[in-house]
Symmetry: C3
Subunit: 123 residues, 3 copies
């Protein structure tokens, strides 16, 4: 963790756009959360052109889900979400109505990385 | 939020079936949760024919994951799950053994939509 | 539940490898958690060759997310994660830096399977 899953309509982001967004998110997240960049994992999933819906209608919906360790403050999460929104919207040019971003929190003891159970968030 | 992710074997739902199911879920969810339809986002993910398993055996498993804001009552969630099950099974014709539906709850402050952090569930 | 979602770069696991890993996870999980094998659902998602990133760089990142009912002890989860890591790494041959595994816990009342809301974890 963190694990970013970014879901977009097929062909809406080029390979270069994905690499640039992944680099920007990794750099930001590492500095903001004070964790090594090697902890940051990002996967882009693409769905078929007929498979995204917002407001009940076919749409190039952009969904970003981020798994983090629980224990962060509301203000931390607010700033994190706001910055991710900014980076994601810049990369996709999607309007506000077609973007949804969610944090999912798990106990550190619920994740394993580098062959080890994760430590708790430092406080 | 809500964000529905519906995962099916490739080619098991037509584009028309996806659109009809998305419209039905959006309409139901909006009325049941008393939220605007434009808050409802739905993405269909398809996996390769060799990539789904139930009971240890290859299977056209249907998985629906729904992210909602926390704070709803058990009875609310029971009714929500029951109706979603009904709509999903009608659309996919999958037997009970091949369907799994999960709600994931996050604090409202963990999600951002329309450029804004979400408000808490009204009580 | 449990619902395993295993995300790999396209073509990194053969159909046979997926079936063998799914069988091993199902057998292990059923015995370890003392639940019927038919409760275990597994889906493999594949992402395009340009779509995975670890440490800010393109990478054949392997992500496994597991949805379980809440209520298990930390030691239970530690053993579960450790065994899953071992099976996943054996199947993918991925180095430690490219694997991330997360448990997501939901109330039993948040999931529906076999047409029924799930019972709580037995204690």
């Amino acid at each position: 963790m963190p694990l970013y899953t970014i879901t977009t309509r097929v062909n809406s982001l080029s390979g270069e756009s994905k690499a640039a967004l992944a680099a920007a998110l990794t750099d930001f997240h590492s500095r903001f959360a004070d964790v090594p960049t090697k902890w940051v994992h990002i996967v882009f999933h693409e769905y078929a052109a007929d498979s995204g819906f917002s407001n009940g209608l076919r749409s190039p919906t952009v969904a970003l889900t981020l798994l983090i360790r629980s224990g962060r403050s509301p203000e931390y999460k607010r700033q994190l979400l706001t910055k991710i929104w900014e980076l994601l919207q810049a990369a996709t040019s999607a309007p506000d109505e077609e973007i949804v971003i969610s944090l999912l929190e798990g106990d550190a003891s619920n994740a394993m990385e580098m062959g080890k159970i994760l430590p708790d968030v430092a406080r």
